[in-house]
């Protein structure tokens, strides 16, 4: 029950952050430094040794689904990318023994860059999608990944504080 509650809180936190980001986007995260606030929550769950993959993936699914509903993107876009991101980070977290703030930031930066690229790639196939130049896209991706990496330690800590099973193993 405690686990379910932890996952629900994480989904609600992700939704609340998305809500706040959309309302205060110009003040809190001006373009192109708009972070993907939901992704570090997914990474934190995936790299926490105590969280079962099924629960982590379901939480990632729920976060991604709320993003899809909220951002007006094709249904399944964020859900798919977030679940994929969960699996990828679970695998990396399984293979790499490192943990800590630096790991969280680098990990978040690299994965966000890749997943952001994937999101943009899929969006590129969307009928009626807006075409953007490679330079603009690159700047946006790097800036977003950078902003996400900066905030990642806070979001990792947030997940640890609400989910008792996601304790971090010391480096």
């Amino acid at each position: 029950m405690q686990r379910v509650r932890g996952s629900l809180i994480i989904v609600l936190v992700a939704f609340a952050m998305l809500l706040l980001q959309s309302v205060f986007s110009t003040v809190l995260a001006p373009h192109p430094f708009a972070p993907y606030l939901g992704l570090p929550l997914v990474y934190a769950l995936a790299t926490a040794p105590g969280v079962r993959p099924l629960r982590g993936a379901l939480t990632a699914f729920a976060i991604g689904y709320s993003y899809d509903l909220f951002t007006g993107n094709p249904l399944g876009l964020h859900t798919f990318v977030f679940v994929l991101g969960y699996f990828a980070s679970w695998l990396i977290g399984y293979l790499l023994p490192f943990r800590g703030i630096v790991f969280e930031m680098i990990f978040s930066f690299v994965l966000t860059l890749l997943l952001g690229g994937l999101l943009e790639l899929i969006r590129g196939f969307t009928p009626g999608g807006i075409a953007r130049s490679a330079a603009t896209l690159s700047v946006t991706l790097f800036a977003s990944a950078f902003a996400t990496a900066l905030l990642a330690p806070i979001l990792f800590a947030l997940v640890r504080s609400v989910d008792p099973e996601s304790e971090r193993t010391p480096t």
Partner: protein, 282 residues
Amino acid sequence: MNYFQTIRDAAILLALLIIPAVFLRANLRDPSELSWLDRALIQLSGPVQYVAEWAADGVTGVIEDYVYLLDVKSDNDHLRAENDRLQREMRTLRSNAQQVRELESLLGLRERLATETRTARVIAKDISPSFRVVRLAVDQGEQAGLHAGMPVVANQGLVGQIRRVSGRFADVLLTIDPESRVDVVVGEGRARGRIEGLGERGRYRCRIQFDRSDDQVAVGDEVFTSGLGKKFPPSILIGYISEISEQEFGLYQEGEVAPAVDFTRLDEVLILTSGPKDPDAL
């Protein structure tokens, strides 16, 4: 964890990846190329997405409205403060404009008087219990060359004369003071007489005594200084006849004069520091 649980978890995990991928594929395809499965998925996801978006828009709308209201409140506070500031500025400007008008008026009076004058600011007023001014003090004194007896005038007319000078200040004896006496002429008939203050604390009035009992004077006639004795320049307006007392067998007639000067509103006055150069100037 047993074997079946592992298989079940693996199946769910796979489904979590495949389901969104299938929905995504259906949503990304060109509408003309949709298969029956894609159409079914879109039909399935459409209402759910619509309801969820409607709810999300509602939540966002509430928050945005709240933020908007906060902005409106902030704007209101700002505008209220701005309004207060402008009101204060307007009052100051009105006061300044009034002062400028008074000074211009005094300047005009100074030119009309054609005599040496000194401008002084009223710095103190003694008020009677009936809220009447009974004494004035001005901010010019010995340093300005003032001495007792010098006439004090305002744009409306004669205020009185300097009673006492002390240092940088001077007291003014008002025309309504019982100690004040001024030789006057009245109306077009130039009836001669003298006025003295009644010293009443409830109203501004002077008593006027005419030299002759048969002088034709009426209520409303203007009362001017006569210039007799050269204490006051001639033709300075003092006030208006407000009452005439008929004395059938008297040697003279008398009445009351309402001063032309509103003593309560005096801010600047002119003090005549020398005798008139041109007696017909006024």
